[in-house]
Amino acid sequence: MKLNTIGKFIFLGVFLIVLQTFASAGLRVMPSTVDVKFGKKPIAETLMLKNTGGESLMIKAYVMGLAKNKKGDWVFTDPVTKNYNLNKYVTISRSSFVLNADQESKVIVNVKKPKYYSGKFQCVVFFENYPLEKTEVDTSAQMQTLVEIHGRLGVIFKEK
C-alpha cells in the first residue's frame, strides 16, 4: 500500500516535470482585423491583448506593410521604403512592454494613409512575444540545443 502511494507521488512528480518542460506561451489579440475609412485625421483603434499562458511575456509591437509581389503572393514589406516611412504614418502607443500571466492590456494604434500611397492601403501591426525568463543552456554539454519558439500575431488594417 505504501509503495503504491509512493508510486503515485513519483508519477505525479514526473507528470509535473513533463508539464513544465512543455510550458506554453499564449497571446490573444482582439480584434484581428480592422477596416479603416481614411479621412484627414488619423484613425485611432484600440486593440486588446491578453496573456493566456502561464508565464510572463515580453511583447514587441511594430508595423509592416502588406503588398502583393509579382507572383501574386501576399508578402510583408519593410516599413521604410524609398517613397515613405510607414513608421511616420502608423504609431503604436506601446512598442515594448511586459505582459504578466492572465494580464490584459490596451494598445492604441493611430493610422494615417501615407500621402504617396496609391491604391487601397494595407498594413499589419505585429505583436511578437518572447518568454521573459531565459532558459539556461549547459554550455559544457556536447551538442545540446536550446529551441525557442516565438509567436507573432498580426492585426491587419485594411482600407475600406
Binding site: T139, M143, Q144, L146, I149
Partner: protein, 167 residues
C-alpha cells in the same frame, strides 16, 4: 374627461408596446455588444525546450512542440516562419548551423504537407484553412548534406518565429 381618459389609455398602450419592443431587442442581443463576437486571434506556442538528440553525423527528426492557433470564428490563417537560424550559443558559428537544420511545420496532420522552411522564406503560406483551436505539430529535421561544413561540439541556440494573421 372621456377624451382625456382615452388619450391616457392610448398613451399607456403606446408606451407599453415600445418598452416591450425594446426589451425584446435587448434580450435577442441585437443592440448589446457581445465581446465574444469580436474577431480575435490567439496563439499558444511552446516557448523553449532543450534538445539533446542532435548528432554530428545524424539524420534525425525531432518534435519541438505543438503550436495552437485559435479564433472565435472559423478563419483562414496565413502563416510563415520568418526566423530559422541556429547559432552557437556563446559564439558566432552561424552559417554552419543553418546548413545543418531545417525546421518543418506540419499542417493539419497530413504528412504530405510538410513544408521545408529556409531562413530567407518570407512568403506567406496561403489557403491554409484553420478551424478554431487547430493544432500544428512543429518538428525539426536534421539535414545530413553538409559535407563542406564541420559542426563542432557545443551548445546551440535555435529560434523559430511563427506568424498568424487573418486572411
Amino acid at each position: 374627461m372621456k377624451k382625456t381618459l382615452i388619450l391616457l389609455v392610448a398613451l399607456f398602450f403606446v408606451f407599453a408596446i415600445s418598452t416591450s419592443t425594446l426589451a425584446d431587442t435587448s434580450s435577442s442581443g441585437n443592440q448589446a455588444v457581445d465581446t465574444n463576437l469580436v474577431p480575435a486571434l490567439e496563439m499558444t506556442a511552446p516557448s523553449a525546450t532543450t534538445l539533446d538528440t542532435l548528432q554530428v553525423d545524424g539524420d534525425n527528426e525531432f518534435l519541438l512542440g505543438n503550436l495552437v492557433v485559435s479564433s472565435n470564428a472559423p478563419y483562414t490563417i496565413k502563416y510563415h516562419v520568418d526566423k530559422t537560424h541556429m547559432t552557437k550559443y556563446a559564439g558566432t558559428d552561424y552559417t554552419t548551423a543553418t546548413a545543418l537544420i531545417n525546421v518543418m511545420s506540419l499542417i493539419g496532420g497530413d504528412v504530405g504537407d510538410f513544408a521545408t522552411v529556409a531562413t530567407t522564406d518570407q512568403n506567406l503560406k496561403t489557403n491554409c484553412t484553420v478551424e478554431n483551436g487547430a493544432t500544428w505539430s512543429i518538428s525539426g529535421h536534421q539535414v545530413v548534406d553538409y559535407a563542406d561544413k564541420v559542426l563542432t561540439d557545443g551548445a546551440y541556440h535555435l529560434v523559430i518565429t511563427y506568424t498568424a494573421v487573418q486572411n
